[in-house]
């Protein structure tokens, strides 16, 4: 069976000979696909709507300064944590911060 798909190289590179890191897009490789975003302004949980624990990333915004940091930042005094399981997203939010969680379609348990 012949290979098929989509491959696009960066400008100046022949798509037939470009190395993977010189491809803008290649359907040979999986790409992160955003499922949804969830905002937390207080501690709690929200159902994410998938049947498995999804991959995720999150940023924590200091509502006073407007600055945003990625993930846990105990050393900066902005305690905020996020976990996911197969049903929910859980967040612990301290006073003065908001959490923005991006959920991806990729499962964490496979």
């Amino acid at each position: 069976m012949s290979k098929y798909g989509i491959k696009i190289s960066r400008p100046g590179y022949d798509v037939d000979s470009a190395t993977d890191d010189n491809l803008i897009y290649s359907s040979e490789f999986n790409t992160p696909k955003i499922f949804r975003r969830i905002k937390f302004t207080s501690s709690g949980s929200q159902a994410h709507g998938l049947t498995y624990p999804p991959d995720f990333d999150y940023y924590v915004k200091n509502t006073t300064s407007g600055r945003t940091r990625r993930g846990q930042n105990y050393y900066f005094g902005w305690p905020a944590t996020v976990q996911v399981d197969s049903t929910n997203v859980y967040a612990t939010v301290s006073s003065g911060v908001e959490i923005y969680v991006t959920l991806f379609t990729n499962p964490l348990n496979e």
């Binding site: 960066r10 803008i24 790409t31 399981d85």
Partner: protein, 138 residues
């Protein structure tokens, strides 16, 4: 030179815009491509402070973007590394590029009393092809 590539409008947009954020795919910009992903399990020793370091070889020859998530065995909740997360006991994870071909995942507990018995901890890593030094945009 003429423009080329692919643009696909997001499902929640009804008319083409000029902003890249309106497109679900826009090949004027690089796309994160997963080079390697996988899962694994380490065992933390019960009754003592323990740390398990795991090396994952990607052989890309440069230091790529990567992410690691770890499941706390007490409640099956996943956290994003680096983190410190306490359920009934504190689980920690640190990550680093050991060199240009290897990432390292460090999973450890912090007190000798937990976990009580040898306990398996699951992790997942995703290593991207991107970005490579000098690949985008000179």
């Amino acid at each position: 030179m003429s423009e080329w590539g692919i643009q696909a409008l997001r499902g929640d947009k009804t008319s083409p815009g000029t902003a890249v954020k309106d497109f679900s795919i826009d090949t004027r910009y690089n796309t994160l491509k997963i080079a390697l992903e996988g899962t694994g399990t380490v065992t933390l020793t019960g009754g003592s402070v323990s740390q398990v370091d795991t090396q994952v070889t990607h052989s890309l020859g440069y230091k790529p973007f990567f992410t690691v998530k770890v499941e706390h065995p007490d409640n099956s909740r996943w956290s994003m590394a680096p983190f410190k997360y306490t359920s009934t006991w504190e689980l920690n994870c640190g990550v680093n590029h050991q060199d240009s071909d290897t990432i390292e995942i460090q999973i450890y507990d912090s007190v000798s009393s937990f976990p009580v018995v040898d306990t398996d901890v699951s992790y997942k890593y995703v290593i991207y092809i991107d970005p490579r030094k000098d690949a985008w945009f000179e």
